[in-house]
Each structure stands twice: as structure tokens, then as C-alpha cells.
């Protein structure tokens, strides 16, 4: 972005980062309900998908990266950050590329995001732990990522429709 951010843009970004962090926090309070690590709804992805549609991809990247750093710092641990970051990076890249193709709605985009987030996390975990044995988690995560993606996509799609005109 060559031109300076306007105050309005800055406020919008900050508000979305705040929303994403609250959602991260809410998510961290949901107790584990499946015996597979990595299974989660990915509530904060609502903010990312929303930003991708309502503001554009540079905003989505910014909000996602800032959110991962801040919420690892505040609610999680830095050990978890490497997994969150690699998951978020893969999810963002694939969502941005697929959105350019313009064949999916927010649901399809967010499903791809959810599944790619899990794939990115597993790749990072395999590298850090130096074992391929944990790649087996991809099977349950494929299902949970898809389902979570549908939920997040429906919410984000609704939000984009209703809120976009105010931005």
C-alpha cells in the first residue's frame, strides 16, 4: 500500500483486530471436545474472511498476522505461535488466490481456509517434532476443518452483506 492509511481505514483495521482477538479468547475458553489436537471452530477466521471480502486482501493479511501475534502473547504461549502462524499463512495464501478465481462464495473460501489452516499446522508440527507420525491427524482434521469452514463462511457471508455498506 503506497498511500497512507486514512483514519477511517486505521480504525476499521483496529476494530477488526480487536474483534478477532476477542473471538480467539472466546475460542480458547471452549473446552476440548474431541481427542484430536488442532480441532477447533476457528472463530477468529470470521474477521479474516470478512476483511478479505469487505476490505481487500492486504487488510486480511495484516489483521490475521497482528491477531496471531497478539493473542499468542496474551492468551496462549509462544510455543503455539509457530503452529498458528504457519496455519494462518497457508490459509491466507490459499484463500486470497481462490478468491481471485471468483468461483466460490464466502463458504467455499472459508472451507479452504479452515482445511489449509489445519494442513499448515500439521506441516509445522511434523517439522518441529521431527516425525511424520502425526500426519495421521490430517484425516479427522479434514472433516473438522470443512465443517468449521462452512459455519464460519456462513457467518462471515452474512456479515459482509449486512455491514459492508457502513465501511
Amino acid at each position: 500500500m503506497k498511500k497512507k492509511l486514512s483514519t477511517k481505514q486505521l480504525v476499521t483495521i483496529s476494530a477488526l483486530v480487536a474483534v478477532a482477538m476477542i473471538l480467539s479468547y472466546v475460542e480458547s475458553m471452549i473446552p476440548a471436545f474431541v481427542a484430536v489436537p488442532g480441532v477447533k471452530v476457528g472463530l477468529s477466521n470470521i474477521a479474516t474472511v470478512f476483511a478479505l471480502y469487505a476490505l481487500g486482501w492486504p487488510y486480511a493479511i495484516g489483521i490475521s498476522v497482528v491477531r496471531v501475534f497478539l493473542s499468542s502473547l496474551l492468551f496462549g504461549n509462544f510455543v503455539g505461535m509457530i503452529y498458528s502462524l504457519s496455519g494462518a499463512a497457508l490459509a491466507l495464501v490459499s484463500m486470497i488466490l481462490l478468491k481471485k478465481l471468483d468461483i466460490f462464495s464466502t463458504v467455499g473460501i472459508s472451507v479452504v481456509g479452515g482445511v489449509c489452516h489445519n494442513i499448515g499446522q500439521i506441516i509445522a508440527a511434523c517439522i518441529v517434532m521431527e516425525t511424520a507420525a502425526i500426519a495421521v491427524y490430517i484425516i479427522p482434521l479434514l472433516f473438522s476443518g470443512t465443517i468449521a469452514g462452512v459455519v464460519i463462511g456462513l457467518i462471515a457471508g452474512n456479515l459482509v452483506e449486512r455491514v459492508k455498506k457502513y465501511i
Binding site: 480458547s28 476440548a32 474431541v34 481427542a35 484430536v36 489436537p37 488442532g38 480441532v39 477447533k40 492468551f75 496462549g76 504461549n77 510455543v79 503455539g80 503452529y83 468461483i103 466460490f104 462464495s105 463458504v107 467455499g108 472451507v111 479452504v112 482445511v115 508440527a125 518441529v128 517434532m129 521431527e130 516425525t131 511424520a132 507420525a133 502425526i134 500426519a135 495421521v136 491427524y137 490430517i138 484425516i139 479427522p140 479434514l142 472433516f143 470443512t146 462452512v150 463462511g153
Partner: protein, 138 residues
Amino acid sequence: MLKKILENKKLCSDIILIAVLLIVGLSAFIVYLTTRDNIDPNEAHVVVSVDGKEVARYPLSVDGVYIIKGYNGGRNTLVISNGEAYISDASCPKEGSDVPCTKQGRLTADGMLRIITCLPNRVTVHIVGGDTEGGLDI
């Protein structure tokens, strides 16, 4: 109803995408279940690895409580009892991590998943059959 769905191109491609992912997941699951070795509960072993290297191996048929020394001073307590292996306690901050090792259930010889992972301590605990060597059975 069906016509309405077919008219909406994006909805169609969404549904196709979701169906493809679910089919891939289901086939992977079937392949996983049909190709893995059967483990005899009497010969099964619990293999503990840290950073991908095997550090200990215990028979699943012998009850016991073991302390695993993980990465960076982390500790996990492994319990084997009645043919089940699980992590009863861990040193990692359990809040903030999505599914801590203590919540990953109990490993048995015929269980669906044969591995427990503790990411912060870089510990994996998995079940292998009696004659498996390195036994990374994915």
C-alpha cells in the same frame, strides 16, 4: 429448490468443494483403517518419542506410571493400566493450547488413533505391535 441451487454457480461450486473434501477425508479414513497392522494387545508396546527419537518403550500389558522428560524441561506423566495408555498430567500450560495431551483420550491396541501428541514438550506416545522395529505406523 434444486433448480434454484443449480442457478447459483457459486453455491454449486461450494457444494462440490465440500463434497470433494469429505470424499477425500472418507477415503483416507478407509485406507487408514484397512492398511494398518492389527496389534495384538498382549504384544503391544507403548513407544515414547521426544523430538522424533524413541526414548522409551514399555509393554502395554504391564501397568505402570512413568515420567517423560520432554523438550526444554517439560514433563509428562504416562500411565499404563489395564491395557490402556494415557497422559495423566503435563507441565505445559493447558490453557490456550487447543487439545492438551491429557485430553487426547486413552490409547488401546484396537483404538482408532494410536498416537498422543504433546506439542510444547515435543513428545509423542504411540502404540506399536510386538514385532515392529521403529514402528512409526501412520
